[in-house]
């Protein structure tokens, strides 16, 4: 028997024992059958990566499926004490906005890049909701590489959904606001407030983003989006609520109309209008932050202009599909034909047909026009309605086998139904109050439909209590059979608002192991220990320091004086996988550092009193890690101590 077989044998005995001790519990969550399905033996890999938004943590967390093990937290819109993101001078520019530095924001929808409608593992995008931004994370390094601010927007919720080949990332505004911003009475909402929908172009080579154009839209609340695919490629769909344009007590006043809208936008048409010069340039200042992994440094650029299309000047650019009542999610099935809306207050799930929509547009089956945007006749575009879909249906993902799975927030369940017949075929409770749900690839042309993950808001009574604040949770449900089966639930970091999943093998091929030292172009980087040095210009002291197992060079520095500003520029000279080093100085008020192999990071220290200060490596790196230390001597301002180091 090989080691592996032995392990399997022992595990099966264990499970058999479990089965006996749990008889009568057959098929219920927590049975041995479920345990076996989520068990990933030591040393084995999970089948999928799941990228979950941290919601109010401003991060993405990376979990394995089916194990539910947490692998990594990727900081995006929030400072991160684990690696100094947002604290070090190299990464601080990432959190700059036109409002100044924002240390903590709210992130909602991770979205994997796609090629021909299939997740390709190059990048993942995510939105900052409160101060509208879109970020791009490079999935070879799992590092945030770019953040672009979205001007003329507020509550960047319908974002960052992508088109079939990642041509565009879209961003629609939840709150309408005066555009450009101005001081007006809030009661003048109807005349002064507008929404925008932004199309961010993505460079296919390096992922670089730029806001290609914005569309000015009526002052509703734009909530979520998904792009067309296959036959509907070239279109993108956005839900809106508050078509009443209320501006107070929205829970009542924005629920008056029987139907709100899905806005269907023909972005290929938008490109034509831009070529024809229909766009108008607006002055708007917004930040565009880019991290370069050869200089290991981020820079902030300020953009000044944005191209805006007004639907009034662009017939055929947008149509409204009437959709009952305050629709939230909008999801396009793998074939690209069906557009499914989830309405918080709706009693059915309306499913629009793309081909019927095109026909209705050709036949001009409009019931009215709002600010120049034609409203299509509901009966002309609807493909079907799912009856009894649970209370508060929100979001739908697809398994690629003709079934759709919709989360129902109020009744806390997932409802499985069949595309085409619209009949509900199965339902399973969730614990509790599910928002989004995720099937790996479930919003793409090629779902890898084996699991659905429920992303829940509440865990009351579910785990050991932890004071007034309880964790939130994700639940893994097997969808490989006719009946959904709960396999596992596991706590998450922050709010697992939405998630994306991808087979591990697609991502693993491109993983970067080190930053090549020969390509380190950091302004203060080192390529060899022999270049370690200390330079003093006035009160600025720049220490070019190297780190390797298991020493710093230099490790003794004297001649620093009160009033000096000391920059430790530290390059990790290791060229091997998984050998970071850390750095900390007693009493430093900025941040500790964590430095990856081949990377340079800077810590800024302004010592306030005389003495000798130790510094050391904070990341256990080898048997001699405790020996990895040094001293800085700080002298009085008028001291005659010369600068020296070794």
């Amino acid at each position: 028997m090989s080691t592996k077989q032995k392990a399997r044998f022992i595990i099966s005995i264990f499970f058999i024992a479990l089965i006996y001790s749990c008889s009568g519990n057959n098929g219920k969550p927590g049975t041995s059958d479920a345990a076996e399905k989520v068990y990933v033996a030591p040393g084995e890999y999970d089948e999928f990566y799941a990228f979950m938004s941290g919601g109010f943590s401003g991060q993405i967390t990376v979990y394995g499926l089916p194990s539910g093990r947490l692998f990594k937290i990727i900081p995006i819109f929030a400072q991160h004490p684990e690696n100094g993101y947002g604290y070090t001078p190299e990464t601080k520019p990432m959190l700059q906005t036109s409002y100044g530095e924002i240390p903590w924001d709210d992130a909602h929808h991770p979205e994997l890049s796609q090629t021909d409608g299939t997740p390709d593992g190059r990048w993942i995008f995510i939105n900052a909701n409160n101060t509208p931004r879109v970020a791009r994370v490079n999935l070879s390094t799992f590092e945030t590489e770019e953040i672009i601010e979205i001007p003329n927007s507020a509550g960047n919720h319908g974002s960052p959904f992508i088109t079939m080949n990642t041509e565009y990332v879209v961003a629609s505004t939840r709150f309408s606001v005066p555009i450009p911003q101005k001081d007006v009475p809030i009661s003048s909402y109807k005349e002064n407030f507008k929404g925008t929908i932004s199309f961010i172009k993505v460079n296919p080579e390096n992922g670089r983003m730029n806001i290609e154009f914005q569309i000015l839209v009526p002052g509703f609340n734009y909530d979520l989006a998904h792009a067309g695919k296959g036959p509907s490629h070239g279109w993108a769909f956005f839900t809106s609520y508050n078509s009443e344009q209320a501006n107070t007590l929205l829970e009542i006043n924005a629920s008056q109309n029987d139907k709100d809208f899905i806005a269907a936008i023909n972005w290929k048409k938008a490109e034509e209008y831009i070529k024809e010069g229909k766009g108008k340039k607006y002055n708007s200042e917004y930040y565009h932050n880019i991290y370069n992994d050869e200089t290991h440094t981020a820079t902030s650029n300020v953009e000044k202009e944005i191209l805006v299309l007004d639907p009034k000047d662009c017939p055929g650019l947008i149509y409204y599909l009437p959709t009952p009542k305050s629709p939230h999610g909008v999801d396009v099935d793998p074939s690209g034909e069906y557009i499914v809306a989830g309405g918080k207050l709706a009693t059915v799930i309306p499913v629009h047909s793309f081909s019927k929509m095109i026909k209705a547009i050709e036949n001009k089956e409009f019931i009215s026009e709002i600010f120049g945007i034609p409203v299509l006749k509901y009966e002309s575009v609807i493909a079907g309605e799912v009856e009894d879909p649970g209370l508060g249906p929100l979001h739908t993902e697809f398994d690629g086998n003709g079934y759709a799975y919709t989360s129902a927030f109020i009744s806390s369940e997932i409802v499985k139904w069949k595309l085409g017949t619209w009949e509900v075929v199965d339902r399973i409770p969730t614990y509790y109050s599910i928002g989004h749900l995720m099937i790996p690839g479930g919003d793409s042309k090629t779902p890898f439909g084996k699991y659905v993950v429920a992303l829940n808001k509440i865990t009351k009574d579910r785990y050991l209590p932890t004071g007034p604040e309880l964790c939130q949770s994700a639940q893994l449900i097997d969808i490989s059979g006719d009946k959904m089966k709960l396999l596992l639930d596991f706590p998450t970091i922050g709010e697992p608002h939405y998630a994306q999943g991808i087979p591990a093998e697609i991502l693993m091929k491109g993983q970067k192991k080190i930053y090549e030292l020969g390509k380190n172009n950091h302004k203060y980087g080192l390529r060899s220990e022999k270049d370690a040095k200390v330079e003093k210009n006035g009160n600025d002291v720049h220490i070019y320091m190297s780190t390797t197992r298991t020493h710093f060079k230099p490790d003794n520095i004297e001649g620093i004086k009160i009033g000096d500003k000391v920059y430790f520029h530290i390059t990790n000279l290791e060229q091997d996988w998984d050998i970071p080093h850390g750095f900390a100085v007693k009493g430093m008020n900025t941040a500790e550092l964590l430095i990856m192999p081949g990377q340079t990071r800077t810590a800024i220290w302004e010592p306030k009193s005389e003495g000798v200060y130790p510094f050391y490596c904070t990341d256990f790196c080898s048997a001699l890690h405790q020996e990895m230390q040094g001293y800085v001597r700080v002298s009085a301002k008028n001291s005659s101590n010369e600068l020296k180091y070794n």
Binding site: T3, G43, R549, T550, D576
Partner: protein, 159 residues
């Protein structure tokens, strides 16, 4: 991880196989030089005992020291090795002058290219790991890089 397990399984298989060989050898009473015994004890072939474990699996022929190759090696040494090795003093790792007299060229290249396996399996590398308490790292070098480093070490050892 998978690789590691694979390696462990591989090593154990090798060890077991070697144990069997040893038994059969001693029972037949065939001649065992001390070196062969040592190699068997560590599950190495005689070649591996002399020339290390790694991608260099055959003897290479060295000519006169090439100045330009050694200069390339010097640059690489300064970028990737110098933080741990000096020529004449013990530092993070052992002093390297004269290493080309102590070790075969193939051994040196295998140590550069495959340090982790070397310190796990080779008695000499194991001994040094014990003394220095620091695992030598693979510094992302190619076989050609290792050859250039060898040339630099030859040059340094010659004076």
């Amino acid at each position: 991880m998978k690789n590691k397990i694979f390696v462990i399984i591989l090593i154990s298989t090798i060890l077991i196989n070697c144990g069997e060989n040893k038994d059969s050898n001693s029972s037949t009473g065939s001649n065992n030089s001390a070196k062969e015994k040592l190699a068997q004890k560590f599950g190495l072939t005689l070649y591996e005992l002399e020339n290390g474990v790694g991608p260099i699996k055959e003897k290479i022929t060295l000519g006169e020291i090439s100045k330009s190759l050694a200069d390339d090696g010097k640059k690489l040494f300064e970028e990737k090795c110098m933080q741990c090795h000096k020529m004449d003093e013990r530092y993070t790792g052992p002093a390297l002058r004269g290493v080309t007299e102590r070790r075969t060229p193939e051994y040196i290249m295998n140590m550069i290219l495959n340090p982790e396996e070397m310190t796990k399996r080779h008695p000499e590398a194991k001994k040094l790991l014990g003394i220095h308490a620091n695992q030598m790292t693979f510094q992302n070098v190619t076989q050609d890089n290792a050859r250039a480093l060898l040339e630099y070490l030859r040059m340094e050892s010659s004076h």
